[in-house]
Protein backbone atom coordinates (compact mmCIF):
# COMPACT_ATOMS: atom_id res chain seq x y z
CA UNK A 1 0.00 0.00 0.00
CA UNK A 2 0.91 3.61 -0.56
CA UNK A 3 2.75 5.34 2.29
CA UNK A 4 0.69 8.46 1.65
CA UNK A 5 -2.68 6.73 1.62
CA UNK A 6 -5.38 9.10 2.98
CA UNK A 7 -2.89 11.87 3.76
CA UNK A 8 -4.48 14.19 1.18
CA UNK A 9 -8.15 15.15 0.96
CA UNK A 10 -10.54 17.04 -1.28
CA UNK A 11 -12.30 19.81 0.59
CA UNK A 12 -14.47 22.36 -1.25
CA UNK A 13 -15.76 22.17 -4.81
CA UNK A 14 -16.99 24.90 -7.14
CA UNK A 15 -18.81 25.32 -10.43
CA UNK A 16 -19.41 28.05 -12.96
CA UNK A 17 -22.57 28.37 -14.96
CA UNK A 18 -22.45 25.87 -17.84
CA UNK A 19 -23.72 27.31 -21.10
CA UNK A 20 -23.76 26.27 -24.69
CA UNK A 21 -22.26 29.45 -26.06
CA UNK A 22 -19.29 31.53 -25.02
CA UNK A 23 -21.05 34.74 -24.08
CA UNK A 24 -18.53 35.68 -21.38
CA UNK A 25 -14.77 35.00 -21.50
CA UNK A 26 -13.76 31.56 -20.24
CA UNK A 27 -11.52 33.19 -17.62
CA UNK A 28 -14.66 34.47 -15.87
CA UNK A 29 -16.07 30.94 -15.73
CA UNK A 30 -12.81 29.62 -14.29
CA UNK A 31 -12.69 32.37 -11.68
CA UNK A 32 -16.29 31.71 -10.65
CA UNK A 33 -15.55 27.99 -10.16
CA UNK A 34 -12.29 28.63 -8.28
CA UNK A 35 -13.88 31.20 -5.96
CA UNK A 36 -16.77 28.80 -5.40
CA UNK A 37 -14.43 25.98 -4.34
CA UNK A 38 -12.52 28.26 -1.98
CA UNK A 39 -15.75 29.56 -0.40
CA UNK A 40 -17.14 26.00 -0.11
CA UNK A 41 -14.02 25.12 1.91
CA UNK A 42 -14.57 28.11 4.16
CA UNK A 43 -11.19 29.50 3.10
CA UNK A 44 -10.18 32.98 1.95
CA UNK A 45 -8.43 33.73 -1.34
CA UNK A 46 -5.21 34.52 0.54
CA UNK A 47 -5.16 30.99 1.99
CA UNK A 48 -4.62 29.52 -1.48
CA UNK A 49 -0.95 28.87 -2.16
CA UNK A 50 -1.03 26.26 -4.93
CA UNK A 51 -2.50 26.31 -8.46
CA UNK A 52 -2.78 23.48 -10.99
CA UNK A 53 -4.64 22.95 -14.23
CA UNK A 54 -4.62 21.37 -17.66
CA UNK A 55 -5.28 24.24 -20.06
CA UNK A 56 -6.26 22.54 -23.30
CA UNK A 57 -8.87 23.08 -25.98
CA UNK A 58 -9.84 19.67 -27.36
CA UNK A 59 -11.53 21.25 -30.36
CA UNK A 60 -9.24 21.02 -33.39
CA UNK A 61 -8.54 23.78 -35.85
CA UNK A 62 -9.30 26.61 -33.39
CA UNK A 63 -6.87 29.09 -31.84
CA UNK A 64 -5.86 28.67 -28.19
CA UNK A 65 -6.20 32.13 -26.67
CA UNK A 66 -5.46 32.40 -22.95
CA UNK A 67 -8.50 33.59 -21.02
CA UNK A 68 -10.80 33.00 -24.00
CA UNK A 69 -10.37 29.38 -25.10
CA UNK A 70 -8.10 28.12 -22.30
CA UNK A 71 -7.33 29.34 -18.78
CA UNK A 72 -3.68 28.79 -17.94
CA UNK A 73 -1.94 29.07 -14.57
CA UNK A 74 -0.54 32.42 -15.69
CA UNK A 75 -4.04 33.64 -16.45
CA UNK A 76 -5.26 32.57 -13.01
CA UNK A 77 -2.25 34.20 -11.31
CA UNK A 78 -2.91 37.44 -13.14
CA UNK A 79 -6.60 37.41 -12.15
CA UNK A 80 -6.20 36.42 -8.51
CA UNK A 81 -3.00 38.15 -7.36
CA UNK A 82 -2.61 35.54 -4.65
CA UNK A 83 -0.36 37.06 -1.97
CA UNK A 84 0.79 33.73 -0.54
CA UNK A 85 1.28 31.63 -3.67
CA UNK A 86 4.16 29.16 -3.32
CA UNK A 87 3.59 26.54 -6.06
CA UNK A 88 1.93 26.02 -9.44
CA UNK A 89 1.93 23.72 -12.45
CA UNK A 90 0.11 22.91 -15.64
CA UNK A 91 0.44 19.41 -17.04
CA UNK A 92 0.53 17.87 -20.51
CA UNK A 93 0.65 14.08 -20.55
CA UNK A 94 -2.34 13.10 -18.45
CA UNK A 95 -5.13 15.67 -18.71
CA UNK A 96 -6.73 17.22 -15.64
CA UNK A 97 -6.29 14.10 -13.50
CA UNK A 98 -2.55 14.64 -13.84
CA UNK A 99 -2.89 18.21 -12.58
CA UNK A 100 -4.86 16.92 -9.58
CA UNK A 101 -2.16 14.31 -8.87
CA UNK A 102 0.60 16.91 -9.09
CA UNK A 103 -1.28 19.08 -6.59
CA UNK A 104 -1.52 16.08 -4.23
CA UNK A 105 2.21 15.49 -4.67
CA UNK A 106 3.01 19.14 -3.94
CA UNK A 107 0.94 19.02 -0.74
CA UNK A 108 2.72 15.83 0.30
CA UNK A 109 6.05 17.49 -0.42
CA UNK A 110 5.03 20.36 1.84
CA UNK A 111 5.54 23.03 -0.81
CA UNK A 112 1.96 24.31 -0.49
CA UNK A 113 -0.93 23.96 1.98
CA UNK A 114 -4.13 24.62 0.05
CA UNK A 115 -4.08 23.94 -3.70
CA UNK A 116 -6.88 24.69 -6.10
CA UNK A 117 -7.27 22.69 -9.32
CA UNK A 118 -9.59 23.86 -12.08
CA UNK A 119 -10.66 22.77 -15.55
CA UNK A 120 -12.18 25.32 -17.88
CA UNK A 121 -13.65 24.25 -21.20
CA UNK A 122 -14.45 26.42 -24.17
CA UNK A 123 -16.99 25.86 -26.90
CA UNK A 124 -15.73 27.68 -29.98
CA UNK A 125 -18.08 29.09 -32.57
CA UNK A 126 -18.55 27.00 -35.71
CA UNK A 127 -17.63 23.36 -36.22
CA UNK A 128 -15.99 21.88 -33.11
CA UNK A 129 -13.70 19.45 -34.87
CA UNK A 130 -12.19 20.81 -38.05
CA UNK A 131 -10.16 18.50 -40.22
CA UNK A 132 -6.73 19.79 -41.15
CA UNK A 133 -6.84 22.62 -43.68
CA UNK A 134 -5.84 21.89 -47.24
CA UNK A 135 -2.75 20.11 -46.00
CA UNK A 136 -2.53 17.12 -43.65
CA UNK A 137 0.67 17.03 -41.58
CA UNK A 138 2.18 14.86 -38.85
CA UNK A 139 0.10 11.87 -37.79
CA UNK A 140 -2.84 13.54 -39.56
CA UNK A 141 -1.31 12.83 -42.98
CA UNK A 142 -2.46 9.22 -42.59
CA UNK A 143 -5.97 10.01 -41.33
CA UNK A 144 -7.11 13.45 -42.55
CA UNK A 145 -7.20 12.53 -46.27
CA UNK A 146 -9.71 9.77 -45.47
CA UNK A 147 -12.10 12.04 -43.59
CA UNK A 148 -11.01 10.83 -40.16
CA UNK A 149 -11.77 14.05 -38.30
CA UNK A 150 -11.55 14.64 -34.58
CA UNK A 151 -11.33 12.15 -31.74
CA UNK A 152 -14.91 10.99 -32.28
CA UNK A 153 -14.04 8.83 -35.24
CA UNK A 154 -10.94 7.49 -33.54
CA UNK A 155 -13.15 6.35 -30.66
CA UNK A 156 -15.82 5.11 -33.06
CA UNK A 157 -13.54 2.64 -34.87
CA UNK A 158 -12.47 1.12 -31.56
CA UNK A 159 -16.12 0.87 -30.44
CA UNK A 160 -17.16 -0.79 -33.72
CA UNK A 161 -14.36 -3.30 -33.28
CA UNK A 162 -15.35 -3.96 -29.67
CA UNK A 163 -19.00 -4.55 -30.65
CA UNK A 164 -18.31 -6.93 -33.52
CA UNK A 165 -15.50 -8.77 -31.78
CA UNK A 166 -17.77 -9.43 -28.82
CA UNK A 167 -20.95 -10.13 -30.77
CA UNK A 168 -22.70 -7.15 -29.14
CA UNK A 169 -25.02 -4.46 -30.50
CA UNK A 170 -25.13 -0.74 -29.72
CA UNK A 171 -28.76 -0.76 -28.50
CA UNK A 172 -27.59 -1.95 -25.05
CA UNK A 173 -25.77 1.36 -24.64
CA UNK A 174 -29.15 3.05 -24.22
CA UNK A 175 -29.24 1.77 -20.63
CA UNK A 176 -26.12 3.72 -19.74
CA UNK A 177 -27.11 6.92 -21.52
CA UNK A 178 -30.66 6.97 -20.11
CA UNK A 179 -29.51 6.19 -16.57
CA UNK A 180 -27.03 9.03 -16.70
CA UNK A 181 -29.63 11.48 -17.96
CA UNK A 182 -31.83 10.35 -15.09
CA UNK A 183 -28.99 11.02 -12.63
CA UNK A 184 -28.46 14.43 -14.25
CA UNK A 185 -31.86 15.47 -12.90
CA UNK A 186 -30.26 15.41 -9.41
CA UNK A 187 -27.45 17.77 -10.48
CA UNK A 188 -28.60 21.40 -10.84
CA UNK A 189 -25.17 22.48 -12.18
CA UNK A 190 -25.41 20.17 -15.21
CA UNK A 191 -26.16 21.41 -18.72
CA UNK A 192 -28.96 18.87 -19.17
CA UNK A 193 -30.54 19.44 -15.75
CA UNK A 194 -34.24 19.81 -16.41
CA UNK A 195 -34.07 18.06 -19.80
CA UNK A 196 -35.32 14.48 -19.83
CA UNK A 197 -34.27 11.86 -22.37
CA UNK A 198 -36.48 8.92 -23.32
CA UNK A 199 -35.69 5.58 -24.86
CA UNK A 200 -37.55 6.74 -27.98
CA UNK A 201 -35.36 9.86 -28.15
CA UNK A 202 -32.24 7.72 -27.94
CA UNK A 203 -33.21 5.37 -30.73
CA UNK A 204 -34.53 8.19 -32.94
CA UNK A 205 -31.38 10.26 -32.61
CA UNK A 206 -29.17 10.84 -35.61
CA UNK A 207 -26.03 8.84 -36.14
CA UNK A 208 -22.81 10.87 -35.86
CA UNK A 209 -20.08 8.33 -36.49
CA UNK A 210 -21.40 4.78 -36.28
CA UNK A 211 -21.68 3.22 -33.70
CA UNK A 212 -22.06 6.60 -31.95
CA UNK A 213 -25.38 8.40 -32.15
CA UNK A 214 -25.75 11.97 -30.95
CA UNK A 215 -26.58 11.01 -27.36
CA UNK A 216 -23.46 8.83 -27.06
CA UNK A 217 -21.34 12.00 -27.36
CA UNK A 218 -21.04 14.72 -24.71
CA UNK A 219 -22.20 18.15 -25.82
CA UNK A 220 -19.54 20.89 -26.12
CA UNK A 221 -20.17 23.61 -23.55
CA UNK A 222 -18.54 26.63 -21.98
CA UNK A 223 -17.89 26.21 -18.27
CA UNK A 224 -15.50 25.38 -15.46
CA UNK A 225 -15.27 23.37 -12.25
CA UNK A 226 -12.72 23.50 -9.43
CA UNK A 227 -11.63 21.72 -6.24
CA UNK A 228 -9.56 22.58 -3.21
CA UNK A 229 -7.07 19.95 -2.06
CA UNK A 230 -5.23 20.02 1.19
CA UNK A 231 -3.55 17.71 3.65
CA UNK A 232 -5.84 15.44 5.66
CA UNK A 233 -5.11 17.14 9.00
CA UNK A 234 -5.90 20.57 7.54
CA UNK A 235 -8.99 19.26 5.77
CA UNK A 236 -10.45 18.09 9.09
CA UNK A 237 -10.43 21.71 10.30
CA UNK A 238 -12.44 22.94 7.30
CA UNK A 239 -16.22 23.04 6.88
CA UNK A 240 -16.81 20.20 4.37
CA UNK A 241 -16.42 16.58 5.39
CA UNK A 242 -13.10 15.57 3.77
CA UNK A 243 -12.91 13.01 0.97
CA UNK A 244 -9.62 11.21 1.57
CA UNK A 245 -7.42 10.22 -1.35
CA UNK A 246 -6.69 6.52 -0.78
CA UNK A 247 -4.76 6.01 -4.00
CA UNK A 248 -4.28 7.10 -7.56
CA UNK A 249 -2.76 5.92 -10.84
CA UNK A 250 -2.02 7.06 -14.36
CA UNK A 251 -1.92 5.12 -17.60
CA UNK A 252 1.50 3.68 -18.38
CA UNK A 253 0.82 2.65 -21.94
CA UNK A 254 0.98 4.68 -25.13
CA UNK A 255 0.96 3.54 -28.71
CA UNK A 256 2.40 5.96 -31.25
CA UNK A 257 0.44 9.02 -32.36
CA UNK A 258 -1.79 8.29 -35.30
CA UNK A 259 -2.31 4.64 -34.44
CA UNK A 260 -6.08 4.29 -34.60
CA UNK A 261 -8.62 1.60 -33.87
CA UNK A 262 -6.37 -0.26 -31.46
CA UNK A 263 -8.36 -1.54 -28.49
CA UNK A 264 -5.16 -2.39 -26.62
CA UNK A 265 -4.45 1.33 -26.46
CA UNK A 266 -7.58 1.71 -24.32
CA UNK A 267 -7.40 -1.52 -22.39
CA UNK A 268 -3.74 -1.42 -21.40
CA UNK A 269 -4.02 2.29 -20.66
CA UNK A 270 -6.88 1.65 -18.26
CA UNK A 271 -5.54 -1.49 -16.62
CA UNK A 272 -2.10 0.00 -15.98
CA UNK A 273 -3.63 3.02 -14.22
CA UNK A 274 -6.13 0.95 -12.24
CA UNK A 275 -3.47 -1.54 -11.10
CA UNK A 276 -1.51 1.27 -9.45
CA UNK A 277 -4.69 2.55 -7.84
CA UNK A 278 -5.79 -0.80 -6.42
CA UNK A 279 -2.29 -1.53 -5.10
CA UNK A 280 -1.83 1.89 -3.52
CA UNK A 281 -5.29 2.02 -1.94
CA UNK A 282 -5.47 -1.63 -0.85
CA UNK A 283 -8.93 -1.96 -2.40
CA UNK A 284 -10.19 -4.08 -5.26
CA UNK A 285 -13.14 -3.56 -7.63
CA UNK A 286 -15.47 -5.56 -5.37
CA UNK A 287 -14.89 -3.07 -2.53
CA UNK A 288 -16.15 -0.11 -4.57
CA UNK A 289 -19.46 1.45 -3.46
CA UNK A 290 -19.82 4.03 -6.22
CA UNK A 291 -17.94 4.76 -9.46
CA UNK A 292 -17.49 7.68 -11.82
CA UNK A 293 -16.02 6.65 -15.17
CA UNK A 294 -15.20 9.16 -17.89
CA UNK A 295 -17.80 9.25 -20.63
CA UNK A 296 -16.93 11.91 -23.18
CA UNK A 297 -17.92 9.19 -25.62
CA UNK A 298 -20.16 6.54 -24.09
CA UNK A 299 -17.86 3.70 -25.15
CA UNK A 300 -15.14 4.98 -22.82
CA UNK A 301 -17.25 3.65 -19.95
CA UNK A 302 -17.09 0.15 -21.48
CA UNK A 303 -13.31 0.23 -21.69
CA UNK A 304 -13.19 1.68 -18.19
CA UNK A 305 -15.41 -0.99 -16.61
CA UNK A 306 -13.40 -3.74 -18.28
CA UNK A 307 -9.85 -2.44 -18.01
CA UNK A 308 -10.26 -1.28 -14.40
CA UNK A 309 -11.48 -4.77 -13.52
CA UNK A 310 -15.18 -4.25 -12.71
CA UNK A 311 -16.16 -6.89 -15.28
CA UNK A 312 -14.53 -9.15 -17.84
CA UNK A 313 -13.51 -8.01 -21.31
CA UNK A 314 -16.41 -8.07 -23.73
CA UNK A 315 -19.04 -8.06 -20.97
CA UNK A 316 -19.48 -4.39 -20.04
CA UNK A 317 -22.67 -3.81 -22.03
CA UNK A 318 -24.28 -6.73 -20.22
CA UNK A 319 -22.82 -5.65 -16.87
CA UNK A 320 -24.62 -2.27 -16.99
CA UNK A 321 -28.09 -3.81 -17.44
CA UNK A 322 -30.78 -4.77 -14.91
CA UNK A 323 -30.40 -1.80 -12.61
CA UNK A 324 -26.84 -2.58 -11.56
CA UNK A 325 -25.58 0.96 -12.27
CA UNK A 326 -28.59 2.87 -10.91
CA UNK A 327 -28.34 5.01 -7.77
CA UNK A 328 -29.55 2.13 -5.59
CA UNK A 329 -27.82 -0.57 -7.63
CA UNK A 330 -24.78 -2.72 -6.94
CA UNK A 331 -22.42 -0.23 -8.62
CA UNK A 332 -23.97 3.23 -8.97
CA UNK A 333 -22.21 4.79 -11.96
CA UNK A 334 -21.75 8.40 -13.07
CA UNK A 335 -24.14 9.52 -10.37
CA UNK A 336 -23.81 13.21 -11.34
CA UNK A 337 -24.90 12.47 -14.92
CA UNK A 338 -21.41 12.11 -16.35
CA UNK A 339 -20.14 14.32 -19.14
CA UNK A 340 -23.17 13.19 -21.12
CA UNK A 341 -25.28 15.06 -18.57
CA UNK A 342 -23.07 17.97 -17.47
CA UNK A 343 -21.63 18.82 -20.87
CA UNK A 344 -17.99 18.48 -21.94
CA UNK A 345 -15.97 19.62 -18.92
CA UNK A 346 -13.54 16.65 -19.03
CA UNK A 347 -12.70 14.58 -15.98
CA UNK A 348 -12.50 17.06 -13.11
CA UNK A 349 -16.26 16.83 -12.63
CA UNK A 350 -15.88 13.04 -12.29
CA UNK A 351 -13.26 13.65 -9.60
CA UNK A 352 -15.52 16.17 -7.84
CA UNK A 353 -18.42 13.72 -7.80
CA UNK A 354 -16.16 10.92 -6.56
CA UNK A 355 -15.13 13.19 -3.67
CA UNK A 356 -18.69 14.36 -2.94
CA UNK A 357 -19.96 10.78 -2.79
CA UNK A 358 -17.16 9.81 -0.38
CA UNK A 359 -17.86 12.78 1.86
CA UNK A 360 -21.62 12.26 1.84
CA UNK A 361 -22.23 15.63 0.17
CA UNK A 362 -23.95 14.47 -3.05
CA UNK A 363 -27.44 15.63 -2.07
CA UNK A 364 -30.42 13.79 -3.55
CA UNK A 365 -28.11 11.60 -5.62
CA UNK A 366 -26.06 10.48 -2.59
CA UNK A 367 -25.38 6.76 -2.63
CA UNK A 368 -26.34 5.30 0.73
CA UNK A 369 -23.41 4.36 2.99
CA UNK A 370 -20.85 5.11 0.29
CA UNK A 371 -17.32 4.74 1.55
CA UNK A 372 -15.09 3.55 -1.31
CA UNK A 373 -15.56 5.89 -4.26
CA UNK A 374 -13.76 5.14 -7.54
CA UNK A 375 -12.98 7.62 -10.33
CA UNK A 376 -11.66 7.06 -13.85
CA UNK A 377 -11.08 10.67 -14.83
CA UNK A 378 -10.30 10.43 -18.54
CA UNK A 379 -10.65 7.98 -21.38
CA UNK A 380 -8.12 5.24 -20.59
CA UNK A 381 -6.48 5.94 -23.95
CA UNK A 382 -3.85 8.67 -23.99
CA UNK A 383 -4.86 10.61 -20.84
CA UNK A 384 -6.23 8.10 -18.32
CA UNK A 385 -5.97 8.63 -14.60
CA UNK A 386 -7.78 6.79 -11.78
CA UNK A 387 -8.50 7.59 -8.14
CA UNK A 388 -10.07 6.22 -5.01
CA UNK A 389 -11.60 8.53 -2.41
CA UNK A 390 -12.87 7.27 0.93
CA UNK A 391 -14.98 8.58 3.78
CA UNK A 392 -13.12 6.54 6.40
CA UNK A 393 -9.36 7.22 6.32
CA UNK A 394 -8.11 3.81 7.37
Amino acid sequence: MWDNRCKIAVSGVGYSKVSRSADIPLAAHALEAVKGAIADSGLKLEDIDGLATYPELPATGHAEVDGISVVSVNCMMAMMNLPNLTWHIQVGSSNIGGAFQQAANALLAGVCKYAVVWRAMHNPKGTYQNLPGNMATGAGQFTGPYGFGGPGQGHAVAYARWLEKNGQTRDKMATLVLNQRKNTQHNPHAYFYGTELTREDYFASRMVAYPFCLFDCDIPVQGAVAVVLTTADRARDLAPTPAYLAGYGQRLHFETAGRIGSLSNYMEGGSSSAKLTWERSGFSPKDVDVAQIYDGFAASVIYGLESYGFCKEGEALDFIQDGRIELDGELPLNTFGGSLGTGRIHGLWHIIEGALQASGRAGTRQVKDANVSFVGASAPIVTGTTFIFVRDPY
Binding site: T127, N134, A136, G147, G149, G152, R161, M207
Partner: protein
Amino acid sequence: MSDWTKVTRPIPVPDEYTKPFWAAAKRRSLEMQRCQTCGHFQHPPYATCTQCIGVDLKFEPVRGQGKIYAYTIMYHTGDKRFAAAVPYASIVVELDDAPGAFMAGNLLGADYTEAKLGRRVEVVFEDLTDDITLPQFKLAGE
Protein backbone atom coordinates in the same frame (compact mmCIF):
# COMPACT_ATOMS: atom_id res chain seq x y z
CA MET B 1 -22.56 4.05 -52.61
CA SER B 2 -20.64 7.04 -51.29
CA ASP B 3 -20.02 9.70 -53.92
CA TRP B 4 -16.38 10.75 -53.60
CA THR B 5 -16.29 12.85 -56.78
CA LYS B 6 -17.23 16.06 -54.95
CA VAL B 7 -14.87 15.48 -52.01
CA THR B 8 -11.73 17.58 -51.67
CA ARG B 9 -9.30 15.63 -49.52
CA PRO B 10 -6.62 17.31 -47.39
CA ILE B 11 -3.28 16.67 -49.10
CA PRO B 12 -0.70 14.71 -47.07
CA VAL B 13 2.56 16.54 -46.44
CA PRO B 14 5.46 14.06 -46.34
CA ASP B 15 8.00 14.65 -43.59
CA GLU B 16 11.40 13.15 -42.80
CA TYR B 17 9.86 9.94 -41.42
CA THR B 18 7.20 9.48 -44.06
CA LYS B 19 8.84 10.51 -47.35
CA PRO B 20 9.65 6.92 -48.46
CA PHE B 21 6.02 5.86 -47.87
CA TRP B 22 4.66 8.58 -50.17
CA ALA B 23 7.42 8.12 -52.75
CA ALA B 24 6.45 4.42 -52.98
CA ALA B 25 2.74 5.26 -53.17
CA LYS B 26 3.49 7.51 -56.14
CA ARG B 27 5.01 4.43 -57.84
CA ARG B 28 1.78 2.59 -56.88
CA SER B 29 3.61 0.45 -54.41
CA LEU B 30 2.99 0.02 -50.70
CA GLU B 31 6.10 0.24 -48.53
CA MET B 32 5.93 0.03 -44.76
CA GLN B 33 8.52 0.93 -42.15
CA ARG B 34 10.22 -2.17 -40.74
CA CYS B 35 12.70 -2.65 -37.95
CA GLN B 36 15.81 -4.34 -39.31
CA THR B 37 16.67 -5.66 -35.86
CA CYS B 38 13.47 -7.45 -34.85
CA GLY B 39 11.39 -7.46 -38.05
CA HIS B 40 8.50 -5.43 -36.57
CA PHE B 41 6.38 -3.43 -39.04
CA GLN B 42 4.92 -0.14 -37.83
CA HIS B 43 2.63 2.52 -39.20
CA PRO B 44 2.55 5.52 -39.00
CA PRO B 45 6.33 5.61 -39.37
CA TYR B 46 8.21 6.52 -36.22
CA ALA B 47 11.69 7.54 -35.11
CA THR B 48 12.46 4.21 -33.42
CA CYS B 49 11.10 0.67 -33.34
CA THR B 50 8.33 0.64 -30.75
CA GLN B 51 8.90 -3.10 -30.23
CA CYS B 52 12.64 -3.30 -29.47
CA ILE B 53 13.84 0.37 -29.37
CA GLY B 54 15.97 -0.39 -32.43
CA VAL B 55 16.92 2.54 -34.66
CA ASP B 56 17.74 0.67 -37.86
CA LEU B 57 14.49 1.16 -39.75
CA LYS B 58 13.88 0.72 -43.47
CA PHE B 59 10.89 0.80 -45.76
CA GLU B 60 10.09 -2.55 -47.36
CA PRO B 61 7.51 -3.38 -50.05
CA VAL B 62 4.47 -5.28 -48.80
CA ARG B 63 1.56 -6.78 -50.68
CA GLY B 64 -1.56 -4.69 -50.54
CA GLN B 65 -3.89 -7.40 -49.22
CA GLY B 66 -5.35 -7.42 -45.77
CA LYS B 67 -8.49 -7.31 -43.74
CA ILE B 68 -10.65 -4.72 -42.05
CA TYR B 69 -9.53 -4.45 -38.42
CA ALA B 70 -12.01 -1.73 -37.44
CA TYR B 71 -14.24 0.85 -39.10
CA THR B 72 -16.70 3.66 -38.59
CA ILE B 73 -19.47 4.98 -40.78
CA MET B 74 -19.35 8.75 -40.91
CA TYR B 75 -22.68 10.59 -40.94
CA HIS B 76 -21.62 13.93 -39.49
CA THR B 77 -21.22 16.69 -42.05
CA GLY B 78 -19.23 19.08 -39.87
CA ASP B 79 -16.45 19.12 -42.44
CA LYS B 80 -18.15 20.36 -45.60
CA ARG B 81 -15.44 18.95 -47.87
CA PHE B 82 -16.57 15.43 -47.02
CA ALA B 83 -20.29 16.18 -46.77
CA ALA B 84 -21.05 14.95 -50.32
CA ALA B 85 -19.80 11.44 -49.47
CA VAL B 86 -21.83 10.97 -46.26
CA PRO B 87 -22.48 8.31 -45.13
CA TYR B 88 -19.07 6.87 -45.89
CA ALA B 89 -16.90 4.14 -44.42
CA SER B 90 -13.56 5.03 -42.87
CA ILE B 91 -11.72 1.79 -42.25
CA VAL B 92 -8.62 0.59 -40.46
CA VAL B 93 -6.81 -2.17 -42.33
CA GLU B 94 -4.30 -4.70 -41.06
CA LEU B 95 -2.17 -5.93 -43.94
CA ASP B 96 -1.32 -9.62 -44.20
CA ASP B 97 2.37 -8.79 -44.60
CA ALA B 98 2.54 -6.20 -41.80
CA PRO B 99 0.59 -7.44 -38.80
CA GLY B 100 0.06 -4.79 -36.14
CA ALA B 101 0.66 -1.90 -38.56
CA PHE B 102 -2.74 -0.32 -39.06
CA MET B 103 -3.52 1.76 -42.14
CA ALA B 104 -6.53 4.04 -42.49
CA GLY B 105 -8.52 4.24 -45.69
CA ASN B 106 -11.98 4.52 -47.16
CA LEU B 107 -13.86 1.58 -48.56
CA LEU B 108 -14.17 2.48 -52.23
CA GLY B 109 -16.43 0.89 -54.84
CA ALA B 110 -18.78 -0.73 -52.32
CA ASP B 111 -21.70 0.27 -50.14
CA TYR B 112 -20.63 1.50 -46.72
CA THR B 113 -22.64 -1.37 -45.22
CA GLU B 114 -19.98 -3.75 -46.57
CA ALA B 115 -17.53 -2.48 -43.97
CA LYS B 116 -17.31 -5.29 -41.42
CA LEU B 117 -14.54 -6.72 -39.27
CA GLY B 118 -12.48 -9.29 -41.09
CA ARG B 119 -13.61 -8.42 -44.65
CA ARG B 120 -10.80 -8.95 -47.15
CA VAL B 121 -9.63 -5.79 -48.86
CA GLU B 122 -6.87 -4.79 -51.26
CA VAL B 123 -5.09 -1.55 -51.92
CA VAL B 124 -5.89 0.75 -54.82
CA PHE B 125 -4.18 4.05 -55.54
CA GLU B 126 -5.86 7.41 -55.92
CA ASP B 127 -3.87 10.29 -57.44
CA LEU B 128 -4.50 13.46 -55.43
CA THR B 129 -1.91 15.78 -57.02
CA ASP B 130 1.07 15.44 -59.35
CA ASP B 131 3.15 14.57 -56.28
CA ILE B 132 0.82 12.72 -53.95
CA THR B 133 -0.92 9.41 -54.53
CA LEU B 134 -3.16 8.12 -51.77
CA PRO B 135 -3.41 4.41 -50.92
CA GLN B 136 -7.07 3.41 -50.62
CA PHE B 137 -8.96 0.13 -50.29
CA LYS B 138 -11.64 -1.85 -52.10
CA LEU B 139 -13.09 -5.26 -51.33
CA ALA B 140 -10.67 -7.99 -52.47
CA GLY B 141 -11.28 -9.86 -55.69
CA GLU B 142 -13.73 -7.32 -57.13
